[in-house]
Symmetry: C2
DNA sequence: TATTTTGATGTAACCGATATCATTTATAGG
DNA sequence: CCTATAAATGATATCGGTTACATCAAAATA
């Protein structure tokens, strides 16, 4: 591999001149510049970016902590991130945490050990908590999708409360009164907000909240299936299932059918995210569309702004949602519990 | 940020001793070692890995070129890669190429500019072709899933021909004679192999090959839907649809239902990959299971072996498949065209 | 013509670790 | 007690760029 000294020697100039000819061409005379460029071409010189970045102290790498890339929604978010990062000359170091705290820690440490400039976290957990406790410093981080409320860091989020409220209102308008919610883990702020939105809508409609209609899932198809199965076994089962993501909704739909019920005549099922499979469910899934790619690109842009000092304080960007009405939700059955 | 000199000064030793105390503790006396470790702790020293890697010339980064992370199968492959890479102290630089040649090139160049040690390519395209042409050097690459046949590089693949043959045989055994194949782009070697397997089975069963039953898709739900719609409009439509991935199969199932046909009584649909949604399709999808995560981990391990000089020649690893029989395929309808 | 200003280039320090080689100190053997 | 050998430590070059500063020539000004 040729280096800058080879080029300098061949061109008969100093290494400084070569560097300048490539970085600030106006500082170099046309004559020398052409000589240098010819030499660069001849030896096939490519600057060693490891050296450049070591010198500059900036890696241009961003760590992304994703709970699971196998989740379709997150996959879209990552896609948006990658595009935005590439546009600004950054690359993504991907970590599929799989809820493994140690794995998350080990990637977070990359920001400490100068392997990455900053980090984007997609779940409600501060991976720097331990590190910052020890060092007292605050590391560059952006939070997206799932939101940490205790920390003042730039954030991209959906108005989950309003979105859950909108979907619940939709179901209430269809005449449903027993609306179950297949939610995420109890401790998640995202789930907490969505449950709050669900209750807002119930309260506004004067429908009593029933704790037994809340079922905690884990965002997988299987958990949606299991949740629906158990909810349908209740003495007074729900006529609508509002799921916190489309995977669980699709799982729930299968359980509903296995239970011998027809959708949407006997029961309605709604999802959240509008992943590509939602429109291909049978029946097609009513859901909340989120701008997944935009989550990713916004998060990346915020982080880069933060890193490059263009951020004075931590903004909270709220992205819009849209209720997508399809055939999985319909009027509540005439004889309702 | 503290550096090795700070530690050395505080411990009252030379930087070389600090480095040794951390890298080869046996070369340092117990007394000095404890002194050094105390100093390390006191100043909160973390070696600057950018410096380490610049010095060593190894980045411990691997570029991964993925056609689309939004594809569930690829998401699983990436998950497997990330796990394996992490276990060996490497990180993944993810590039979602989205069929953008320029994007692919720009990431491939990272190997040239010392930003990454090697590359894993998931589609049948050599991103180094141009670079290697110019420089004459061969860059470390591993190919997985989609296979490049012209190049001698370590490869992880499925016996796609045998798998497609197995699925076709399954359909033939069910009595199907008009079996359509919703395949991938014509130029893809993967598709070529699978079509070959499909023909192997037809030939063995003495069923004539009908070109009009081959339909090129692009692995999306939409394209499966469209393909099925067009195939069902044929004068002599197929009784079975063999799709090259599960997304297209799920899209096809929707089209089949919209056409008023029942599955599997009127028509059978089979997929490929066994993504999580396959078991939740209605009816559950018969498909070929591939060890997606293992594809990822194997590819990463091969690349690391290659980088660390443990590979003499380019191995081809063939991973096993399994035909998963579910309810989307059944006996051919009695009155067949 | 003498002097200042501008432009172009070279010299060398620097980023932070590692590793070679030299040097000092400790241990063993005679 | 002295030397030979081993063990521990230090001084410093090095990786490949960038950049502050020095130098020098050419152009502009007095």
């Amino acid at each position: 591999m040729s280096n800058i000294r080879d080029v300098a020697q061949l061109a008969g100039v100093s290494v400084a001149t070569v560097s300048r000819a490539l970085q600030q061409p106006d500082l170099v005379s046309l004559k020398t510049r052409t000589k240098v460029l010819a030499a660069v071409k001849q030896v096939g010189y490519k600057p060693n970016l490891m050296a450049v970045r070591f010198r500059s102290g900036k890696t241009h790498h961003l760590v992304v902590l994703v709970p699971t890339v196998a989740n379709v929604f997150f996959a879209r978010v990552i896609s948006g991130m990658q595009q935005a990062a590439h546009d600004k000359g950054y690359s993504l170091l991907l970590c599929n945490t799989l809820a493994d705290e140690a794995m998350e820690q080990s990637y977070a440490r990359m920001v400490h050990t100068s392997q990455a400039d900053g980090l984007i976290q997609l779940r409600a957990h501060n991976p720097f908590a331990q590190l910052e406790m020890k060092t007292g410093s605050v590391l560059p981080m952006v939070n997206a999708c799932e939101v940490l409320d205790r920390i003042a860091c730039p954030t991209v989020l959906l108005d989950n409360r309003a979105a859950a409220c909108a979907m619940t209102e939709h179901l209430l308008q269809l005449g449903h009164r027993r609306i179950a919610m297949i939610k995420g883990p109890a401790r998640s702020p995202l789930t907490r907000d969505r449950v709050a939105g669900y209750r807002d809508a119930l309260d506004a409609a004067g429908v009593a909240f029933d704790e037994s209609l809340l079922y905690p899932g884990d965002f997988t198809l299987q958990s949606g299936h299991q949740a629906a199965t158990e909810l349908l076994a209740l003495a007074n089962p729900p006529t609508a299932l509002f799921c916190e993501n489309d995977e669980m909704a699709i799982g729930a739909i299968q359980a509903v059918k296995q239970h011998g019920l027809k959708l949407p005549q006997d029961i309605s099922v709604a999802g959240f995210d509008d992943i590509s499979f939602a429109a291909f469910a049978d029946p097609p899934l009513t859901t909340i569309a989120q701008p997944a790619e935009e989550f990713g690109s916004t998060a990346v842009n915020l982080l880069i702004d933060l890193l490059e000092g263009r951020l004075t304080k931590a903004p909270k960007v709220i992205l819009p949602f849209e209720l997508i009405q399809r055939a999985s939700t319909g009027p509540a059955p005439a004889v309702s519990g």
